[in-house]
């Protein structure tokens, strides 16, 4: 278990931070969040070609950088801090992770290099309208199509159903879709499929998201041809670890945002005067800031521990994935709310940047399961804890 970052990792973090400071200032964030596309293609290109970030945890054999989950989490923490608007979480944290864990060797060779180079925008379509993130609630069906030749049955399926809350689903080139074999229920009969976004019978619509820096789409499949990813009916086994890794990734992104809220609150407390003194000189504001530090540092420790467990494939990963996500959910939301409160009225205005983080925190709080769900999982999974 790695409790501190190596010098190389710290250096890497600095490089990523400098890139974010340079390419994702709040003016850019505000511009991109108002655009339908939601990201800047030129910045995406630099981030891909210059830094190789989309392939950060993709093995070299598949065109990636060959780093581990810790490095991925460093990148996400910095992106969360800068509120970067880019299809990174969808392509790298969700889609690439899914392919790495569920795809066949052939499929990895075929699909991962495109994601690693930043050329393929990909995402995972799991959740359905008014449902939670549990794969067992999947209703979208996959039936073998007529030209599915018995022995080579990987290829041809037809999808029917609807997915919602699909991150960057409106721009993704490649969708990884969770669907079930007709007649099955629960965790049985679940499989992953790949679908190019221009497939027939596929319709997508950009949703109005509370957090405009994270674009979400609704996607409908009507007799849409799809290719099986990995083995048929194995989703019940492959999806839980993929979702654990996604939760760890999200927790890292969230602690980056929470850290920014702490820093922003501290800056303002040392700038704003009321009653002839800095508001940071009032004990109640000091206590708030101290409590924020406590929350943020504790949340970071859980995110770092979980990233390390993910990198090592540690047996307690399921427990600590939920632990870190629950911690991050509470901490990010609380930090954003306190930062807003310390700003007073100005914090409630559109012009002030706090609300951008507040909305990211609110949306991330429920994305991939809220704190109540993950706390429950922490207890249920506790036996696996080393």
């Amino acid at each position: 278990m790695q409790f501190t970052f190596t010098d190389e990792q710290e250096e890497f973090r600095l490089i990523v931070r400098r890139f974010m400071d340079d390419k994702s200032p709040r003016t850019e964030v505000r511009k991109l969040m108002d655009s339908e596309q939601g990201y800047d293609a030129a910045v995406w290109k630099q981030l891909s070609e210059g830094l190789g970030l989309p392939g950060i945890h993709i093995p070299e054999a598949y065109g990636g950088q060959g780093f581990g989950f810790v490095e991925l989490c460093i990148v996400l923490e910095e992106m969360g801090r800068a509120l970067l608007c880019a299809p990174f979480f969808s392509a790298t944290a969700l889609a690439a992770t899914s392919i790495i864990h569920a795809g066949t060797e052939e499929q990895k060779l075929a699909l991962l290099p495109g994601i690693a180079s930043g050329q393929t925008l990909a995402t995972l379509a799991l959740s359905e309208a008014n449902r939670d993130w549990l794969p067992c609630n999947t209703e979208t069906s996959a039936t073998p199509s007529d030209n599915n030749s018995g022995d080579n049955s990987d290829d041809n399926y037809l999808l029917n159903g609807e997915k919602s809350y699909v991150v960057d689903g409106h721009i993704a080139d490649l969708l990884i879709v969770v669907a079930r074999t007709p007649g099955t229920a629960g965790d049985e009969g679940l499989s992953l499929f790949t679908v190019p976004s221009d497939a027939p019978g596929l319709q997508r619509r950009l949703l109005k998201s509370l957090d405009p820096t994270r674009k979400l789409a609704h996607i409908e499949f009507k007799q849409t041809p799809a290719t099986l990813l990995g083995e048929l009916n194995r989703g019940g086994d492959t999806l839980p670890p993929i979702l654990d890794l996604a939760a760890v990734a999200l927790a890292s992104e969230m602690v980056g945002g929470a850290q920014m809220m702490l820093e922003s609150a501290l800056d303002y407390a040392q700038l704003r005067m009321q009653f002839g003194r800095l508001i940071g000189s009032f004990q109640v504001i000091k206590h708030k800031c101290a409590d924020m530090l406590l929350d943020v540092e504790l949340a970071k420790s859980t995110a770092y521990y979980a990233a390390s467990a993910a990198a090592d494939g540690a047996p307690d990963l399921p427990t600590v994935a939920s632990l870190s996500k629950a911690y991050a959910s509470d901490t990010y939301m609380k930090s954003a709310a306190e930062c807003l409160q310390i700003h007073g009225g100005i914090g409630f205005t559109w012009e002030n940047d706090t609300h951008l983080y507040f909305k990211r925190a609110k949306s991330s709080e429920v994305f991939l399961g809220d704190a109540n769900y993950h706390r429950d999982q922490v207890v249920l999974r506790w036996e696996n804890q080393a």
Binding site: S127, N130, R131, D132, W133, S164, Y165, L207, K208, S209, L210, D211, R214, L216, H218, R272, M273, Q274, F275, G276, R277, F282, V284, I285, A337, L340, Q341, G344, G345, I346, G347, F348, T349, W350, E351, N352, T354, H355, F358, K359, K362, S363, E365, V366, F367, D370, N372, D376
Partner: protein
Amino acid sequence: MSEQTVESTEQSLRTDVRTWVEANWNPDASLLEWRNKLIDSGWGCSSWPEEWHGRGLSIGLSEAVDDELRKAGAVGVAKAGARMLAAATILEHGDDFHKDKFLRHLLTGEDTWCQLFSEPGSGSDLAGLTTRADFDGENWVLNGQKVWTTSAHHAQYGIVLARTNWDVPKHQGITYFLMNMEQAGVEVRPLQQMNGHASFNEIFFTDAKIAPELMLGEEGKGWKVAMTTLAHERRLVDGIRSWGRGAKGQGRIYDELKAEIANVMEPYKWYPQRAGRVDLLIERAKATGKYDDPAVRQSIAKVLMMAKAAEWTGRRVKAAQALGRPPGPEGSLGKLAGSQVARLAAQAHTLIAGHDAMLTEEDGALNGIISEVLISTPAESIAGGTDEIQRNIIAERSLGLPKEPRTDVDRPFRDVPRNTVS
């Protein structure tokens, strides 16, 4: 007064109101015509003094009068918004010229008012305001900036605090004015909030003019006058809540009233969401199936319990007030309780909405009402005095704890460190 006398006074009062309304109410009259009649009768704002459109009744009894008007379907005087703050302050500190010039038009709804107190540099520390008024021999000349002003874009008049003396301690250099908003030196810009609404404005004064007779109270004594205004702020919120009632009916007057309400209420349409929409919790939980989750039910229960406890505390305060008892410490808690209820309600709504908390507007839960709750409740602990300031007030005034040492009141305001923003 014994409880029995209070009751019998109220009964005969209600009969008087009913008789008068039966004889005079006409839904086909114009709103202006009717309101003038109502003002002349003294029933429109019966707690006001007899010489100024009222009947000198207690708050409790005047509420009974309003209740009778409402029951009869009769439209009341214009009561919402900053106009009531202006009215209360003019009644207490104004001279006959002020009362004569402003009160009637304010009650008929012909004049809209706004409150120009908060500034970018001074919110919690209202007395630290830096908008300046200088006398040029003929008029007071106003320069500076105000913020969080509701309705300023269609207001004819404003109540405004400005600094007229920088060489005395902060509270002693402030003067209270009534000002004409429709003049060249006043620029009004909408201020957008994080929930997308723009209910407020920023106001910029560049050599705006105020005639000397529009000073309310004395020069440099504006702080005391402002205290009257602030004391009425809480009742303002109740006024807004009841404003929309009684607008249902057929006839010219109802149409005119509906138009007025639509205009006046526009900035307040997100206010129910800001308070947390506790009323929707159970209904939403049932609709989403989260009602079956015991953890969610615990969250909902906490909100419902606190909301009820706060409501009953408010009722206790009112009941004691009606009997003329001195106010106890419980009277200062409503605001703080309200912001905690709002915060807990937003948490419970998040749990109930699940994923849908990621969506907004027409894609969001209840057509965006729930997402509006999630991004409006933070206002509750800031607007009208922050939670931190409320706690200071409760601790020092209600509980009698030692006051925080102050370094800003013992010297000329000129020498007090302050923000550079304004």
